[in-house]
Symmetry: C2
Subunit: 227 residues, 2 copies
């Protein structure tokens, strides 16, 4: 037992490691993921590596082309537009449902998280802030009480993060905290349509903030996986 067995099964462990590596910008778009290298890093055979890669491919965070292996996905400008448009549509719908279904307790927890976010922002803790800001969106998705839409948002939000990683290497493009507060206020007031419109505007602002320009490479795969 080599100390990395924490109750997650093997597949999940490998998936998460690679996925997190992408989300934290250690694995940048275009990076190649050779099967044998992953086999050695995770001490498994190619069957399981291939299965995980296929799953990552289905989630659109890696490209899987026949006979030439897996690479971290590199969304084009066109795709970027489509992804953000789809996200606005889905997340607006989610906000409407969440406004209908959230309880008083839900709003309490939501406000508490907003304060954490606020604090992290004022302390200039960029990584923590980004993480919390992203969690805000996923938390609202939970309040909608629809696991299917929640899964769709998770998938599409990860693709957005990939895009931000591609086009904003230093991580400037984060959520505006004030806008989060306005959205929650609208929701608490029971104004579903208003909250949906605010959310769409919020995501539109996020999209407008990313400027289309790639980033830089080079480091060992092991380092970039955080191992």
């Amino acid at each position: 037992m080599s100390g990395q067995d924490r109750g997650l099964d093997t597949d999940e462990r490998i998936y998460r490691t690679i996925f997190d590596g992408i989300m934290q910008q250690r694995l940048t778009p275009g990076t190649k993921l050779p099967e044998i290298a992953l086999c050695e890093l995770f001490s498994v055979s190619r069957s399981v590596v291939r299965r995980v890669l296929q799953r990552l491919a289905h989630d659109h965070v890696v490209d899987l082309r026949p006979n030439r292996g897996a690479t971290i996905a590199t969304p084009s400008a066109q795709e970027t537009r489509e992804i953000f448009e789809a996200r606005r549509a889905i997340e607006a719908a989610i906000v409407r449902l969440a406004t209908r279904n959230a309880t008083a307790d839900d709003f309490l927890a939501l406000r508490r998280q907003l304060e954490d976010e606020h604090e992290a922002m004022h302390r200039f803790e960029q990584p923590a802030w980004a993480r919390l800001a992203s969690a805000f969106h996923l938390r609202i998705a939970k309040l909608a009480r629809n696991p299917i839409l929640e899964a769709y948002l998770k998938e599409i939000a990860s693709r957005c993060s990939l895009i931000v990683a591609l086009y904003e290497p230093w991580g400037n493009a984060s959520c505006e905290h004030a806008e989060h507060e306005e959205i929650v206020a609208c929701m608490e007031a029971g104004d579903a349509e208003g909250a949906a419109r605010l959310m769409e505007a919020h995501l539109q602002a996020l999209e407008n903030n990313i400027s289309l320009r790639p980033s830089d490479p080079q480091k060992t795969l092991k380092q970039r996986l955080g191992l």
Copy 2:
């Protein structure tokens, strides 16, 4: 060459055969899909069968449980509710986009398809009608010009079909033709919100039409795959 090679690669052929088998209610929910049986039926090794099964699992049309193989998915009543809710949300968003982006030619093609549908209905050609009615929804998704939302609708619509297969063995629950026409009329008039509301009502009617009661089993796997 045994006459089933039509330019599709092997994976796609197997995927389609199983998927179509499910959509046409030859493979009913709960049916087990043993790997070896599929290997022999399609003359491939277990690797490719396993890959295809994983893809079907990701699309939520089959359940894949560790150490106990693949079975056709059997959505619960709860899931049914969630799936239809998600579909209303996504398809309403799609209709709004489609109303904005459709050209005059698009509407022409749409109307032509509506006539085919109308005709098939009046001739009591239930299978053709059901196929056309389903195609109507996918065609609108194309008009939205967003491949991501289109893919989501495809996935969720197939889950709806599975539910209908589960709870309406004789296939009564189909789309009302008149409602399709109203939706198109609204779209042509440029009334995105109206069209969205009509679409939601249309899908709600579809959901209300399905009564929750399972169906019957037994026949060989080969027959049920149409081979």
